[in-house]
């Protein structure tokens, strides 16, 4: 019987361990690259929002023609998807949490700016503030998310701003206070200042969006008449 060669077992263990550590190091390296990518997207969006705000302040008294509303929506949405994916896959939760805070802030800024542009320039749009939670297993939130994603595909004019209830950011907390959102009643939607708690079906949300579009029609006419 061949004697067991302990040194060989040790060497095998070491090589295996080195391969494992290398896999983790490589994974960490790529993940940090991705987080940096997210940071740079956010910085760009931040600059874009600031630029739009400034542009709006400069031009609002004169004309609505030059105010762009297309820049932010798609980029912000894309960033939202990436952050959502990152939270499940990138593993570095502290950095992702920080990026999520920043993202929430950008959403609020975009929301405020877009509301202004919409009301002043008569851009057809509907806004939904969506509050959910990741702190506990919220299956209703997942369902609500699916409904909102589907509606967003269907109505390009619809803007959905989603906020994680547990985001530790004073601006998000202020919104929660304004609309009196409680963590026991999630998901919650805010459409034209009306608060809906619990899961809302696709039909009811869609009906509400259409109503929101209708409400805007008179203002649109006024705005066109001004031009």
């Amino acid at each position: 019987m061949q004697k067991p060669d302990w040194k060989k077992y040790l060497l095998t263990f070491l090589i295996t361990a080195i391969l494992f550590v290398s896999a983790f190091v490589l994974s960490g390296y790529i993940n940090s690259k991705k987080i940096n990518q997210l940071k740079s997207i956010q910085d760009k969006i931040s600059v874009d929002i600031l630029s739009s705000e400034t542009q709006f302040s400069l031009l609002s008294e004169l004309s609505c023609k030059n105010v762009s509303d297309e820049v932010l929506s798609s980029e912000l949405e894309d960033l939202g998807h990436k952050l959502e994916w990152g939270q499940d896959n990138l593993g570095n939760s502290d950095e992702v949490t920080y990026l999520k805070k920043y993202y929430s802030l950008l959403e609020i800024k975009d929301y405020l700016l877009m509301k202004k542009i919409s009301s002043r320039c008569g851009v057809k749009s509907a806004f939904i503030l969506y509050f959910y939670t990741t702190a506990e297993n919220c299956s209703e939130c997942q369902k609500q998310g699916i409904v909102l994603s589907t509606l967003r595909e269907k109505y390009p004019e619809l803007r959905v701003y989603s906020f994680d209830f547990s985001t530790d950011l004073s601006a998000v907390k202020a919104m929660l206070n304004i609309y009196k959102i409680q963590d026991t009643k999630l998901p919650a939607l805010v459409i034209d200042d009306d608060v809906f708690t619990g899961f809302q079906t696709m039909d009811s949300v869609e009906a509400r969006i259409k109503e929101s579009f209708k409400l805007q029609e008179p203002s649109k006419k006024v705005s066109n008449a001004k031009k």
């Binding site: 019987m1 061949q2 090589i15 990518q37 998807h81 990436k82 994916w85 369902k143 079906t201």
Partner: protein, 412 residues
């Protein structure tokens, strides 16, 4: 639940890489001894080749013809065709060879393959005995290449490399890659003295093996595995002759493959349970420290991967069903419109899986180099990885379940 799977997957991946690296080190250590041995046989020993048959009328002729074509002195080979109570025309097919000298045809009542082999051994008096399954055949040079291994008096049995004969469909091609992998694995196990099976297609034993440790046993219909376990635990050396080839007719369909593997895995689990006392015992060498634990862990690893696979698929279907229930099937967004390179996974497990697959592919290629002389990549490797990933868990699960409820699969 998912975290539990994830931890288990990392643990089993570590073991999988460990096993492959162990083989790799063995490969580099033993590279010189893997070359072909051109030893002159000064005196040809006598050998009895036993062919146990049960309903093999269509393949027996090819098997016997391959024995007759062996490049070995004809007066030193004795052939015993043993009909284990076949209900088809096997016995009359055997009679086609009745005029061949040194060939004996024996008919007995059906009692299982081990009884047929034992009858053959009892009726022989040669220095060596070999078994050749009736659905297999042997390369003309096989015996000439195997016998020199016995110049080491400690070597008690030698196994050949088993090659899939005429891989004509995807299932057989997938098995070809698997058999090429086992040419490599068996050689590595041979180098460390850890072989756990002396397969039915043309393993050669010294006659004294059966005098020392007794005859074949039923052993959960895997008598070729049990005899190797018994040899290992009695300190009898088994070698692997990588360039002696036995050709086997691999199962042609998924169902036949499933039945064959169920028998093998069931045999492995139950023989290992029977020999559980040797596990991790230093005195039994790498057989007890490496081969058996790696085999057992392999079963667990596949079960965990399978469990995870079902969890992921189940979860995906559940989520899609839930999405369909809230937005309707027509509104389901199937392809994300926001796809980019960003979403390509970068978890450590992904890289570890790449390492495992690279090592497995390397092993297959080295197996090919040993058996065919060339390390050639072919689609059969891809078939092997995909087909076995999909269906291997089924026979593993079934073998585990059968063991739990003590249900034995048939050998045919």
């Amino acid at each position: 639940m998912h975290q539990v799977f994830e931890v288990a997957i990392y643990v089993f991946s570590f073991i999988a890489v460990f096993v492959q690296i162990f083989f790799l080190i063995t490969f580099f250590e033993g590279r010189k001894s893997i070359r072909r041995i051109f030893a002159e046989i000064l005196e040809y020993p006598s050998i009895t080749v036993m062919v146990p048959c049960y309903n093999e009328e269509s393949t027996i002729a090819g098997t016997v013809e391959s024995i007759l074509a062996l490049d070995y002195p004809k007066d030193k080979i004795f052939i015993k065709l043993i009909d284990d109570g076949s209900s088809d025309g096997t016995f009359s097919a055997m009679h086609k060879f009745s005029s061949v000298p040194n060939l004996e045809i024996i008919k007995k009542e059906n009692g299982g393959k081990h009884t047929a082999l034992n009858l053959g051994i009892e009726n022989s008096s040669s220095d060596f005995v070999a078994c050749l399954d009736a659905d297999s055949s042997v390369h003309p040079q096989a015996l000439k290449r195997m016998i020199p291994y016995f110049s080491d008096p400690k070597v008690m049995a030698v196994s050949p490399s088993i090659i899939v004969r005429e891989p004509d469909n995807i299932i057989r091609k997938a098995q070809k890659a698997e058999y090429d992998l086992s040419v490599y694995v068996k050689k590595m196990l041979g180098l460390i003295g850890g072989i756990h099976v002396t397969p039915g297609p043309f393993s050669v034993y010294r006659r004294e093996v059966f005098e020392k440790i007794g005859m074949y046993r039923k052993a959960h219909n895997t008598e070729d595995m049990e005899i190797a376990y018994r040899m290992q635990t009695n300190g009898l050396k088994i070698e692997q002759c990588h360039d002696a080839f036995a050709y086997t007719s691999a199962p042609s369909s998924v169902w036949k493959l499933y039945k064959q593997r169920l028998r093998w895995i069931y045999g492995f689990i139950n023989n290992t349970i029977d020999y559980r006392d040797v596990l991790f015992r230093k005195k039994y060498g790498h057989f007890a420290l490496f081969t058996l634990p790696a085999g057992v862990l392999d079963i667990f690893a596949v079960l965990v991967l399978f469990g995870n696979f079902f969890y992921v698929i189940g979860n995906f279907i559940y989520q899609k069903a839930e999405a369909a229930s809230v937005v309707g099937v027509n509104n389901l967004v199937s392809v994300p419109s926001h796809f980019s390179l960003f979403y390509i996974g970068s978890k450590a497990l992904l890289f570890i899986m790449c390492i495992i697959y690279a090592l497995v592919i390397f092993s297959i290629l080295m197996g090919r180099k040993m058996s065919e002389g060339k390390a050639r990549f072919s689609p059969s490797i891809i078939y092997y990885i995909f087909i076995y990933s999909l269906i291997a868990p089924f026979w593993l699960v079934k073998a585990v379940v059968n063991t739990a409820i003590s249900k034995q699969p048939a050998w045919k």
